[in-house]
Assembly symmetry: C2
Homo-oligomer: 109 residues x 2
């Protein structure tokens, strides 16, 4: 099964989250799975692509219908708890970028 | 050293490239390193973040000053050769999305 999101026609929004983790899992994997599950229940959520390597580097890109949908997700109560824990426990550093997808191009062999 | 790009104040552009590879390296790693080296020589290139796992899934996000800088990179002669080879040899499927970063947020422990 493809791990690439089937997003609709642009424009739509992408949240690009690049992170470097502290040592050890400390419940991170389980939390990440839970957050994806929760995101799929959000209105205006259009998918997520995520890659993690064994050095603790990760890029997760989530796709959204609107800035409002992103704001609602940011303010989700459970997600807020996780955001706080991210800064104290899991992440050494991260960058979060909110962007508007203007065009896209899909290829399949 | 951080693998997160130190991009300037928004707005700027992000090219989100998510791919699933065919089996085996077939010169992919070497080409990818070469492309990063070449991108750094492009006007308006502001950095790249890339994560690859051992299942062949990869997300690479490159940052650019303008749509014109992205277009010039797309049309770079050596890059064009690599794009063609990507479709015939390296990639099972991919999605390429051009987006405009409207806001960002950096965290460091």
């Amino acid at each position: 099964m493809s791990k690439i999101s089937k997003t609709p026609q642009p424009p739509y929004y992408a949240v690009i989250f690049t992170s470097e983790r502290t040592e050890g899992d400390k419940g991170y994997g389980q939390m990440a799975d839970k957050m994806v599950e929760l995101a799929f229940q959000q209105p205006g959520f259009w998918g997520v692509e995520s890659v993690r390597d064994n050095t603790g580097l990760e890029i997760t890109v989530s796709y959204w219908e609107s800035l409002e949908a992103i704001k609602n997700w940011k303010e989700n109560a459970l997600h807020k708890v996780v955001q706080d824990k991210g800064k104290t426990v899991w992440y050494k550093r991260f960058a979060l970028r909110v962007s508007k997808v203007e065009r896209d191009n899909f290829f399949e062999m």
